[in-house]
């Protein structure tokens, strides 16, 4: 028989239990806070940023062969890598003042100059080469020396001082350089700047939108975030896109993880899958907003060139696809202001936006700000303004009006709205329920009637959510799993009906009547 507990003992035991729960809760909150700001790496090498950079800054014109030895693709690649390493090392040395690494990439006269320049540099004022077109003029028959001309050298200046209102300056330059093939590889021996002109800073043209975008953010139900591209099954994606259209959507926002489109082993496959997805979306009359640099938060100047290489190759692949009219440069970069510095993040965004506009003038660029208050930032550089709104639905319209007022005639999209439907006990509508989710969504959509479009987060509930997105806390993961219009088994929730009944997007939203050119109607 169990002994009877006295009231004192019961109270004491209860106090101990409550204390234990309190401590556990505090630890959980601390852990959550730490988890929220942490970046997860798959390998130690990645964490230490030791991963090799397989990309090259140089785009070669191999049709014009040099005097002397012919330049093949293999040599061109090695030269491009050496040039890339040299320019990164110079940028890094000027930022840090440490010149030891320069000797690996420069020799002779150029080494002395790079060393002097780095030693005299102001670390707040950096020049970063982002890419160039190259041709060889003279290649020694014994392969020991090559003289190059580089044109269209994209250079960025990042002036990281608090009083500076224009932290970024972009220029297009050309160089003449001689490289020597030495024991440890190619090194730059002479380097001379031959032309330079600032890249025009005209404001981005305003995208003409023939109709509103009614869209949905999309990941497959069982392969969200970084699992998407490596595991993408086109038949499943095709079915989901058809479903988005059936629900009344005319747009879909997708995410292009940096690794999937930068890793040399994944790149080609990812691009093919992306084109397939776009083709499929276009067939259903959906426009697609690809969101770049997903799950990447590195704004250090020495990584700008790699960032641009990633963006450039994607724009080259999809820049003229009929399903793509808007590209979201970065999802919620304002999350990174605190950890990475607002000036640096904005400088990086501005650089990518301006180079993107130069490369793909038919594309309107946007940034998916997390908070409406940041949406007017970089307005001048963007063709479309976008932000996310998970705040109080009752004031959603005020935030929209505020943004619209700040950005003038730029279209404004709210590229993430919605709420979750999760409750730990299905009978209790706490913290949410499918009915509550639906009513919130209705309120949000209703409040955004003056917008140029909105996108629901997200099509599906997910059967799992990676730690990198929602941390390790189970209730956070559970909420993140239940934002879908459809349950994980594909059955529609009430929110799906709310979405459909709130308005159906016109198919092919950017399709214009004949004899009506989108380009001609882009307002300067």
């Amino acid at each position: 028989m169990m002994p009877r507990l006295s009231l004192e003992k019961f109270l004491l035991a209860s106090a101990v239990i409550l204390l234990f729960m309190g401590i556990t809760f505090s630890v959980s909150l601390t852990f959550e806070a730490v988890s929220k700001n942490k970046i997860e790496y798959k390998t130690i090498q990645e964490a230490l940023n030791l991963r090799g950079n397989p990309w090259s800054m140089l785009q070669w014109d191999l049709d014009k062969q040099p005097e002397g030895l012919s330049l093949g693709a293999g040599d061109a690649y090695m030269l491009g890598r050496a040039y890339t390493e040299a320019m990164l090392a110079l940028s890094s040395a000027t930022a840090s003042g440490h010149t030891e690494q320069l000797k690996q990439f420069f020799t002779a006269n150029a080494y002395e100059r790079a060393q002097q320049a780095a030693e005299a540099a102001d670390s707040k004022n950096q020049m970063i080469v982002l890419g160039a077109q190259a041709r060889a003029n003279l290649f020694h028959l014994d392969g020991s020396l090559i003289q190059l001309s580089t044109d269209n050298v994209l250079a960025a200046r990042f002036l990281d001082t608090p009083d500076n209102t224009e932290p970024v300056m972009l220029s297009r330059e050309c160089q003449a350089l001689t490289m020597f093939n030495q024991t440890s590889g190619w090194r730059i021996g002479t380097l001379e700047r031959r032309c330079a002109a600032p890249i025009a800073t005209d404001p981005a043209p305003v995208l003409f939108m023939p109709t509103r975008l009614i869209g949905i953010n999309y990941y497959p139900r069982n392969a969200p975030w970084h699992e998407f591209w490596p595991n993408m099954a086109l038949n499943e994606v095709d079915r989901d896109l058809r479903r988005i259209r059936a629900l009344g959507g005319n747009a879909v926002r997708i995410f292009l993880q940096f690794e999937a489109f930068n890793d040399i082993d994944q790149l080609e496959s990812s691009l093919v899958k992306l084109i397939n997805l776009l083709d499929s979306a276009y067939a259903y009359g959906l426009t697609v907003i690809p969101t770049l640099f997903d799950l990447r938060a590195d704004y250090r100047p020495k990584t700008w060139a790699e960032s641009w290489a990633y963006m450039f190759r994607i724009l080259k692949a999809i820049g003229t696809h009929p399903a793509v009219h808007i590209v979201d440069i970065k999802n919620e970069p304002d999350r990174d202001f605190e950890d990475h510095g607002q000036r640096r993040v904005l400088a990086w965004l501005e650089t990518m936006a301006r180079l993107g506009r130069e490369t793909s003038p038919h594309i309107a660029f946007t940034i998916g700000w997390m908070e409406a208050k940041f949406a007017p930032l970089l307005n001048r550089e963007l063709g479309v303004i976008s932000y996310h709104d998970y705040e109080d639905p009752n004031t959603i319209n005020q935030r929209l009006i505020s943004v619209k007022t700040a950005v003038g005639d730029k279209p404004v999209l709210i590229t993430e709205i919605g709420t979750h439907s999760w409750s730990p006990i299905s009978a209790l509508p706490f913290p949410s329920s499918e009915a509550k989710q639906s009513s919130v969504l209705e309120a949000q959509i209703s409040g955004l009637s003056a917008s140029d479009g909105y996108f629901i987060w997200t099509l599906h509930d997910f059967d799992h959510v990676p730690n990198i997105v929602a941390g390790r806390l189970p209730w956070r993961k559970a909420m993140q799993k239940h934002y879908g219009l459809l349950r994980a088994d594909g059955m529609p929730k009430q929110a799906a009906r709310a979405f459909t009944s709130s308005g159906t997007g016109k198919a092919d939203p950017f399709k214009l009547p004949q004899s009506f050119s989108l380009l001609e109607n882009i307002k300067p």
Binding site: N137, L141, R194
Partner: protein, 384 residues
Amino acid sequence: MSKIHWVCLGTALVLATVKTSVADECALPRLDAFGWQNAPCAPSITTNRSQWSGLVSHVATPQDWHQKWRLPDTTNSIDIIAGEKTLRAGQEKAMTIALLQDVHGNAAADDQLVRFQAKLSDETFKDDGTSQNGLAAWIFQAHTRAKTGYATAQIGDHQSKRSDFHIVPNQITNITLAAPITQSVSPNQQIELVATDITDLYGNVMEDGALIRFQANEETGHKHFAQGLVANGAASAFPISGTKPISTFWRAYIGQAESTTIELRTEPQTLAPQTELQIAPELITRTLQLRAGPFITSAGHRIVDGTDIEFTLSQSVTEKISAPGRMVDGWAEITLPLPSGEQPVTISASVLGVIFTSTIADIDKVESIMMTREIALELRGALS
């Protein structure tokens, strides 16, 4: 961008910056090929970095640039890179690149005349080149004569150091196998094979150190190989002749070049007329240990290891015991049953068709005795 474009661009930019005063420039950040300078007029910059050639931008605002060319001066030093260092005669091309620098270490000004020269002992080849971006290049074809030479470049009073190169024979097309003094050789005898006239298409003699291979085909289908290194235009190999009286057909070759074939006939084997037989009877085990040798050829060599030998011990016509053995260092050993009785014992050894014989009256008392060659059998062997 062509040279003309560069000049036009440079001129335009120089003109565009005329209005920029020095005082303004000192106040503006300065951008050159190696990055930014916030204090362009600091003493270390004005005395050094301002001498670096190329386009310099003084940036007032992102759109307001004051650009200025710092043109390189004329050549102050000249260096040279010539290669490949080793060229095949009459076939390969060499490139000589002159690297020109002005007094500040800049790639020297364009369009300067560079005089190239290649010297091959008594012959000199010359050509002119024009500098571009600090380099001038000259390509010349290797002479048909294999020689060592050097290239130089000169601009004004400035002369480069020499850069050596080496023209080597092209692919060898000729090789001759000189016949030995006699076309017949003794068996088991070192032969000297000499390959001569090892030359390329242009008559250049093969360089020392190359490997020449010699191959012999026997009448029987067996092959033999030897090799020698070229020294002073010839290569020798020293194979050992066989022991059988047959012909071998030798040729020398290198790469695709092959000599004519010569025939060498190996003479029949002859052995020295006598050899020693050591006898060691073992009474307990009733065995007789025999050791015969050394078997010497007429040329004075011991018979090669592994040569078959057969011992025969006989006390009468009907009592014979034979056993085979093999030569080691010209000797052969064998153990036979100790013969019984007191009759004389005849021991013979058959080697290469030659039979050596010795008769011993009292085998228990003899330790060593000479064996003598049987003439008739030797003749028979020679005929076989």
